[in-house]
């Protein structure tokens, strides 16, 4: 039944692409909201636009998941006007490190051992650590190590805040539950086919 397998597979991929496009648009929207919010402290960013990537950990295949992360960086860089500067490289490094660490952790540990809270804190830490490493080698040299306490502190605070929000949202959202169910059903039928 190879034709059926390919039909189910292509349908599954079309749905994934639509979902990836929707999550990318959501990341764009949340980036705009974050850009408009006043910052109580310089460098303090809640990372609202990381929420779609966090939920996509369980919803999208790896290629679309990484594409979503790259589109999010492009959107943020366009909004902040830093697309053609090396600031965009920091954004890309941080986002990719965060996305890959969250995906790796989810691949190793299921939802019974690790919730969105832990994933979010791990993602925020990886993002800020990757940016520190880039700052060390590309911009500030050895002085970059003095930035570590602030960067780690902000990552822990923003990761906890966003992780708690994500966990509460996931427990209440019918939209997310429906998406997860659809994905599981499609995955099951794909396996059977």
């Amino acid at each position: 039944m190879s034709w059926m397998r390919s039909r189910i597979k292509s349908g599954y991929q079309r749905g994934d692409k639509r979902l990836a496009a929707f999550l990318a648009a959501l990341a764009f929207f949340l980036s705009t909201i974050e850009y408009m919010l006043p910052k109580p402290l310089p460098f303090l960013r809640l990372g609202l636009s990381n929420l779609p990537i966090l939920f996509a950990v369980d919803l999208l295949p790896l290629n679309l998941y990484l594409l979503l992360a790259i589109v999010k960086v492009l959107g943020m860089s366009l909004l902040s006007g830093s697309l053609f500067s090396y600031i965009a490289l920091f954004s890309l490094g941080g986002t990719l490190a965060s996305a890959l660490v969250m995906r790796l952790l989810r691949g190793l540990f299921g939802p019974k051992l690790l919730s969105y809270l832990g994933l979010c804190v791990a993602g925020a830490l990886s993002s800020n650590l990757a940016q520190l490493v880039l700052a060390r080698f590309l911009v500030f040299g050895k002085s970059a190590k003095y930035m570590a306490p602030l960067f780690l502190g902000l990552a822990l605070a923003s990761g906890l805040a966003l992780g708690i929000f994500a966990q509460l949202f996931a427990a209440r959202s019918q939209w997310l539950a429906r998406l997860a169910d659809t994905g599981a059903e499609k995955g099951a039928s794909h396996d059977q086919a």
Binding site: P42, L114, G118, A148, P149, L152, L156, Q167, L168
Partner: protein, 130 residues
């Protein structure tokens, strides 16, 4: 009518705890290694591979050339702050002044960083400064 539980669904899993504890440990370790020094504070300005040291006790204004232009730093009242920068977002100017060892402020677009270190650390720095 009973109030809804605001934290319904907030179930913390074992690895969540492990990650948060690991992060807190890393944070405290970097805090102690950065702020443990004592002695008279000095201002260190870095731009690319160059570094300059200034005593915080003398008021002055310093102009440093960076990637996209001049960053102006003012030392006044044993505190230093960035007062002018060619960057777009001016986050460095909004940062609070630096005065204690371990304090720092930076302009990423112009690649200029200012930080406070102690006199003991200054001697250490002279050994490998550019």
């Amino acid at each position: 009518m009973p109030l809804k539980n605001p934290v319904r669904g907030l179930q913390v899993k074992p690895l969540d705890f492990a990650i948060v504890i690991l992060a807190a440990f890393g944070l405290f370790w970097t805090l102690f290694s950065s702020f443990g020094r004592t002695g008279s504070p000095v201002l260190i300005i870095s731009s690319g591979t160059n570094e300059w040291l200034y005593p915080l006790s003398e008021n002055r204004t310093i102009s440093i050339s960076g990637n996209i232009g001049e960053t102006v730093i003012k030392i006044e009242g044993e505190k230093a702050s960035i007062i002018s920068s060619p960057c777009d977002n001016k986050t460095c100017i909004a940062s609070p002044p630096v005065k204690n060892p371990g304090d720092w402020s930076a302009c990423l677009p112009n690649a200029v960083m200012i930080r406070i270190d102690s006199k003991a650390a200054k001697n250490e720095l002279d050994a490998f400064s550019y």
